[in-house]
Symmetry: C2
Subunit: 391 residues, 2 copies
């Protein structure tokens, strides 16, 4: 099987490295030798040991009938979308780690792939090296999955871990993450929750079978979390985590990205540093959790190569990991959903919409069951409310 | 697709229940209706709503060409082995949760299944509902897996959790587990580690590709764990867990079942109650962990049904989840392996074979790096050693 790698950045070069290092083993497991015929890159790699593989002309790949798999490692939506489409139209399978593209155009690209008798595979787009897309599609197929929640971004989990375990401020933890290479110079996609939003859109679309429009998912990041929030969490035997979650109601999906207080009894609370984890609740299996490195060169490349091996082995038609198109109305408007929230307040909260369900002490916090719409209105009209975090 | 269930005990009736409850969904996902044609049982089910499905004659199943899948839920080795063999020879796929049979005769039954153009599937034999066999075979196929370690028995993990969290003695925790139905009247297979031994044999055979003879796996249970051990563990920021583990050396496998001190930083330490978890270390993906209900009617049945769905979808020839036969010499003799161990002693330990690597305090414990052979000899000739636990 001949493949072409589009984009020789971190993950692209990781795919190259794994196929070099474990080529024999992978060939045996795939029942076929897998070799890289082209690496498409605009940058100069003329001194690379495999310089002959490099080309800057994507059409060479499209025109080469021998190439059956295109590994799209470009990232972003526009160019990657056009390159993916033209590969599929040329009868080539596409493997990607591109969460932005899968979240934005997944349903369309799956349909196009099916029409053209090929596959569009995306195991690496969520949870880096953690097997999650295929287990949802295959291993848990006997279940109605009711809920998914996950720690889906390593950068924010590293920052929160430093705040929890070492009492760092958000800014200090962020700059440490940047020094270690865990956060980018412009960290907004991570810390504002946009990366998690794309990933929970992909997971929930696959689980519930219809496109969950990521632009409709209410998304908050961790940039407002203060050391004091961490103290409140500890007092309640909880940890603050940035959680992407989705659950299915009668015929609509509820999905949200926000910091949450996770009970330390919940295995998600123990997921620290740059690790990721996804917890699924099925009607038969109960809770299952998948844990591992959510990013990084080799873990993510490991997931890409597992998709390539799957293509070599052959994928039964009924095992397509896909979802149908859907419009924005599939996502429940945030205001209508019920939530449990911890409110920190300097004033006494007396409000019919806010039902005290227990804890209240001299520190001035209250835990409420409230609808998101009423919560927004309560926070707006009560000047003493300092902060709320969902539970 | 017509199936027959052999044995209508806990898991067998769970398979029936899931196929009733989620039949539509499963039919869509399998791309084919899956229906139960026979349930083979010696006991009387004449007042069961589906009494017509029951038969006590297994030959009816073997002779019925319409039945393509036999779900072996008998347990144990002898009868199950003969029934499985005759099903495969009659050209039927077999799905099982029978860890004893897979550990004892897996390699032989996989070869027989291949010869007869059918499959012998066993996702439910390890970790109950946790997807683990298929992720090892497919999702992690790009990796050389170097090590597997897991909490594979819910009964013992429940007992240890009670000892750790509530300070119970072993006997008290065991009787509580029996009252709750988590432990059997004769709990020896669980608490002496034999159940975990079969499961780590299956996992390591699959991972390393050759039969790991379970009779060669050094196996200790938790029946000697005292509350004092739990205190030592806590002082070292560790939790005591019954761990099945295996790793590959040059050309041999090392495998062991024993209580271990697991650092509370390790996600395995947080796995409590009847939950199970398996952690794998791959050369590219690093550590990944799979967590969930390791036993129970519906979780285990969920794994059985996922195998049935896979059969309906079709399994590519290169995706067989199997291993080759091997003799006992594939397992490294225990005495030759190095281990790290905490020794509790009332006398000072001065021994060339025991290298103090740090901690030692008034409580009288020492942590050593030592070979298993030297450890056994040290314990034998030093009367003051009260207990050792591996780390």
């Amino acid at each position: 099987m001949k493949i072409a790698i589009l984009g020789f950045g971190t993950v692209g070069s990781g795919v190259y490295e794994i196929l070099k290092k474990n080529g024999d083993l992978i060939g045996r497991r795939a029942n076929e030798e897998i070799s890289i015929k082209y690496i498409v890159e605009l940058r100069d790699f003329s001194s690379h040991p495999d310089a002959a593989l490099f080309t800057n002309n994507y059409n060479t790949v499209l025109d080469d009938k021998e190439v059956s798999v295109v590994v799209e490692m470009i990232g972003g939506v526009n160019v990657a979308y056009n390159f993916t489409k033209s590969a599929i139209l040329a009868g080539k399978n596409v493997v990607t780690s591109n969460k932005a593209l899968v979240a934005a155009h997944g349903a369309e690209l799956f349909a196009l792939a099916k029409e053209n008798g090929v596959h569009y595979l995306y195991e690496a787009s969520v949870g880096g090296g953690i097997p999650i897309i295929r287990p949802i599609g295959n291993c848990l197929a006997a279940n109605r999955i009711k809920r998914v929640m996950g720690i889906l971004n390593g950068t924010t989990n590293y920052i929160l871990t430093k705040m929890i375990e070492e009492g760092r401020s958000f800014d200090k933890a962020l700059s440490e993450a940047q020094q270690k290479g865990y956060a980018e110079a412009d960290p907004s996609a991570d810390i504002e929750g946009h990366d998690t939003c794309r990933k929970i859109a992909i997971l929930s679309s696959l689980i519930f079978g219809k496109n969950v429009d990521y632009t409709r998912i209410s998304t908050e990041g961790i940039n407002t979390i203060e050391p004091e929030d961490v103290e409140y969490a500890q007092a309640l035997d909880c940890s603050i985590k940035l959680i992407g979650m989705a659950r299915i109601g009668e015929d609509k999906v509820f999905a949200r990205v926000s910091p949450m207080l996770i009970s330390n009894d919940n295995p998600l609370a123990g997921v620290s540093d740059v690790y990721n984890a996804v917890m699924l609740t099925g009607d038969s299996v109960g809770d299952v959790m998948f844990y591992g490195s959510g990013a990084g060169k080799l873990p993510t490349a490991s997931a890409v190569v597992s998709d390539i091996i799957d293509l070599a082995r052959g994928i039964p038609e009924a095992s397509r990991l896909e979802w149908a198109a859907g419009d924005g109305s599939y996502v429940t408007p945030m205001a209508e959903t019920k939530t449990t929230v911890l409110l920190r307040s300097s004033v006494e909260i007396e409000d019919a919409t806010c039902v005290d369900i227990g804890l209240e002490d001299e520190k001035g916090y209250i835990i409420c069951n409230i609808s998101e719409g009423e919560l927004a209105s309560l926070v707006k009209r009560t000047t003493g409310i300092k902060k709320f975090i969902r539970m």
